[in-house]
Amino acid sequence: MGWLGPEEWAAVALSAQVSFWAVAASLPLGVLTAHALARWSFPGRQLLNGLVHLPLILPPVVTGYLLLLTFGVRGPVGGLLAEMGVTVAFRWTGAALAAGVMAFPLMVRAIRLSIEAVDPRLEEAAGTLGASRFWVFLTVTLPLIAPGVVAGAILAFAKAMGEFGATITFVSNIPGETRTIPSAIYAFLQVPGGEGPAGRLVLVSVALAMAALLLSEFVGRRVAARAGGG
């Protein structure tokens, strides 16, 4: 891919890194949240549901600003992290945090749908065979929702690759640190003659998004075939 300049390459590589960690770190939490929303009854369930979906509804810039308030060096969580020697504001880890938060609703929705499609009577049957709730989840629910988890993860990855508003608000647009593909495209468009690099990154974006969608379809179908057994 000699046609991408070093700056553009850096943006693509950073985007991949940020999105990968955003998904990897939030996936266990996403599965847990989806399971809680689909299967458990507890006070505050609706509140949790609203909270999870908030980033989908709020203007991304608001989410980014709230992240900055919370995780900035003077924020309640950010201050605590800073004392432990961890800073996320204006770092690539912060970009991953922003992308993870923004992609979280999509991930949870996909996983939750697949959990709701699992017949609870199967889980009941596993219980009568001696499996505790934890083992029921691990040996029955999780294998049956695997296609949904994979689809949710890929969807979240694609969303994270495209995240812009919250990222630029929270961690700014620092080349090599927080300049992901969308931020890079934005930056190139601000300077004369930037249409070339911007256009190439647009092509990369489109290709990646298409690949993610096709992959999610393909993997989903393969896992489903294995789980269903025809």
Binding site: A125, A126, G127, T128, R133, P143, L144, A227, G229, G230
Partner: protein
């Protein structure tokens, strides 16, 4: 041994049930909506009754007085569901092994090979549940529950979804299971024929209450059973010993009233069999008829009579310890003077006893399970 004493109220239904089930197959018997599945779910821990006490095999599963309520996974109560509920993502082999993982090491469950053999599912082990027929699914579900080494096995109309032919095919497997005595079985059914074939003990439920409970032959010939199940289903269950097979295709069975002749029975001479005789197949006569095509003319005494709403009357007859039910019209009952204490002759056509109404008892070789 299982002791149950539970109460639970739903908005439109209340359950108040107490019974004890000895070893063998206890049939929980009654119309749909009588509370059978509620009882079974309470035993499995899937429903928490508002108050109650359940003790199975010496273990307290639920006792309000002592604040004990074990969750399903700690009860070791096997449950064969109406709809099998096999795990679609696991092969038959792994479905069967599932409960094994969680059974305590010390629990002496049946051996995998013995169960596979008894249920005839050896050729299915590598298949997925999605590719099994209804009858095969039922058998795998039974095996899966058994291999979890349960202290009690619940079967909630495991064959409800199957047609009559499949059911007939599966009943022998259940008889083998009963006679292998791996665990006491609580069998839910609304079919008198199934219960007559399988049950050692019958608990008759109606509207959430126990109406009758006791040995199968007694409960099935009780007038309440006839009333609750409807006269069409009513019938007696007799136990007898095969005396001989005649060349003309008739077998002679010794029952307490004497000899009973039925179409050829697929059991060797000396074997104990159960015979179900439906109430509407019994004719009553004041004295032995002369020449008659029916082969069985049995002296009997009327023990009890109950009139239904229709034109019929149900009479309970004693033939020594054995009992029969006879359904005749009110008109005939009046003409014959059918009332308590009346001595009569019960006439049963041999061919009225269909092959599926004769079942072997204790056929299995002495416990194949370690």
């Amino acid at each position: 041994m299982l002791e149950v004493d539970i109460r639970h109220s739903f908005p439109a239904f209340s359950l108040d049930v107490a019974f004890a089930a000895p070893a063998g197959v206890t049939a929980l018997f009654g119309r749909s909506g009588s509370g059978k599945t509620t009882v079974v779910n309470a035993l499995a821990g899937l429903l928490r009754p508002q108050s109650g006490r359940i003790v199975a095999d010496g273990a307290t599963l639920h006792d309000d007085a002592r604040g004990v309520f074990l969750p399903p996974h700690r009860r070791r109560v096997g449950y064969v569901f109406q709809d099998a509920r096999l795990f679609p993502h696991l092969s038959v082999r792994h479905n069967l092994r599932y409960g094994r993982w969680f059974a305590p090491r010390a629990a002496r469950g049946p051996d995998m090979d013995a169960v596979v053999d008894m249920l005839g599912i050896g050729h299915l082990l590598d298949r997925r549940p999605g590719r099994l027929s209804g009858g095969e699914k039922s058998r795998v579900a039974i095996g899966r529950a058994l291999l979890a080494a349960p202290r009690l096995l619940l079967m909630d109309e495991p064959f409800a979804a199957l047609d009559e032919a499949r059911k007939a095919e599966l009943l022998p497997y259940l008889e083998r299971l009963r006679d292998a005595a791996v665990a006491p079985i609580l069998y839910v059914s609304h079919s008198a024929a199934e219960v007559a074939r399988l049950a050692t003990t019958v608990v008759l439920l109606d509207e959430g209450r126990v109406v009758e409970a006791g040995p199968a032959a007694d409960v099935l010939t009780s007038l309440s059973a006839a009333t609750i199940l409807g006269v069409r289903e009513a019938g007696a269950m007799l136990t007898g010993v095969v005396v001989r097979h005649d060349a003309d295709g008739i077998s002679e069975i010794a029952i307490s009233a004497g000899a009973l002749f039925v179409p050829h029975v697929a059991a060797p001479v000396g074997a104990t069999v159960r015979i179900r005789i439906q109430a509407h197949d019994v004719i009553l006569a004041p004295e032995p008829p002369g020449l008659i095509s029916a082969l069985n003319v049995l002296p009997a005494t009327v023990a009890a009579v109950r009139e239904g709403r229709g034109p019929g009357v149900i009479a309970q007859l004693s033939l020594g310890p054995d009992r029969l039910l006879a359904r005749v019209t009110r008109r005939s009952a009046k003409a014959l003077g059918v009332e308590e204490g009346r001595r009569l002759y019960a006439i049963v056509k041999a061919v009225a006893v269909a092959p599926e109404n004769v079942a072997p008892e204790n056929v299995a070789p002495a416990a194949p399970f370690g």
